[in-house]
Symmetry: C2
Subunit: 251 residues, 2 copies
């Protein structure tokens, strides 16, 4: 049921179409955001993808898995309906439906900071979500929950101090610093600019795929392209023999 | 702002004190639940705790860390205000403020299934949350979000197919099967009884502490007893030298 709410906020009066059952502050926020727009950017590097999976997968298989994961992330972004623009920031020409290809020759940090800088210099003051291409468990709900945050910066941690997504309300106020303990560095960068942060708690988003053990997580929890690709290759989850939890088997 | 809502549901009329900004269905659910109660149970085994941390910590330190983590979990449960009863199901006498000690000599599965069976035979039809003692990153918000779920069973996955928490609306309809790929087994048990499940997505709750690398996650994200204890022992997070993310150092 929709109700038209009259809402006064900072001296302005808003008429909000509010679906009952939805948190009102979220409905209000989405409504005001719908006047502007948000964008998302996925950095992606094709060559010699995911070398630590070399024990398990050939180079061709690793590249195909990387593309399948990229498609999972792209579909979550597109399906969320939150973004007017979704850019793929890449070192080689790749076609993904619904995404703009933005070519760069730079490394991850330089390419992203140039991207944020260009947004500022073109006076594009839209919030931007930077999201990694190797988190295939991400869901549409995850993306919507991040985009509905009211804080200045949302940091989504990966395991072991990584940063798997960053939602930046005002791109001119922030820069990225990946590699190493980027989770700590991004918290410090935000604090240094007086920005309020939210740490977004998600197993789906924390699960970036680097190691052989991570393949198991895709098979256990994935429902998209990456999970289907691994099953097509014959991978399946088995009970571990060494008293651990689960193992991986190729049939 | 609180509003008193008149709400008709299955032919009965309810007056719900509803804080605007809260999802109404959640407010309604909490209100009806407040007539009954929920309980939580933490299984805990003291002797030779966390042997895989033996490379890093002495036996005494491992036991103290296990107690610190138990205290973090207990505080999140107590702080949530969701539970009328919180039981510590343990093989030895341990005092934790606010928790009832329930002694058992059985293993994990047998002890928990006996516990669920006793609830049924005593006609205690309360929802029950089974939560592991080694997930020190758990927050009060995590617990409240789980308890607010309207599904029959909430399964909270650990990494590699584990189950770190289980919320069971009707204890007589379910049994547990830990070890191995318990996440898959618990999904199958629920499906076999025609129960609706929700998989709860949380990095905090997925992070059970078994390996040396997990200690880093406590230092990166923890704010409670376990994090303070590790810092007291001199542990700190450092940038890794091998191109990985972060490492651990004892100062």
């Amino acid at each position: 049921m929709y109700v038209l709410m009259v809402y006064k906020y900072f001296g302005r009066i808003y008429l909000i179409p509010w679906r009952t059952g939805m948190v009102f502050s979220k409905a209000f926020y989405r409504y005001t955001q719908s006047f502007g727009g948000m964008r998302a950017v996925i950095p992606f590097k094709k060559g010699n993808a995911k070398s630590r999976l070399g024990k398990l997968l050939s180079e061709k298989e690793r590249e195909e898995l990387a593309m399948a994961m990229l498609n999972d992330v792209a579909e979550a972004l597109l399906g969320s309906g939150c973004f007017g623009v979704i850019d793929l920031l890449t070192t080689s020409i790749i076609e993904v439906k619904g995404l703009n290809t933005v070519l760069t020759e730079k490394g991850l940090n330089e390419a992203l900071n140039e991207y944020l800088g260009k947004m500022s210099s073109h006076s594009i003051n839209e919030p931007v979500l930077i999201i990694m291409a190797d988190i295939p468990l991400v869901s549409i709900k995850n993306i919507r929950d991040i985009a509905a945050s009211a804080t200045d910066v949302v940091i989504v941690p990966g395991r072991m101090g990584g940063t798997n997504a960053l939602f930046i309300r005002n791109p001119s106020s922030f820069h990225v610093d990946y590699y190493g303990a980027s989770f700590i560095k991004h918290k410090e960068i935000a604090a240094g600019s007086g920005l309020e942060i939210e740490v977004f708690d998600s197993f789906n988003l924390s699960t970036d795929i680097d190691e052989v053990a991570d393949i198991t997580e895709i098979l256990l929890h994935g429902k998209g392209h990456a999970a289907r690709y691994l099953k097509k290759l014959g991978f399946t989850v088995v009970e571990a023999e060494n008293g651990g939890r689960v193992g991986l088997k190729k049939i």
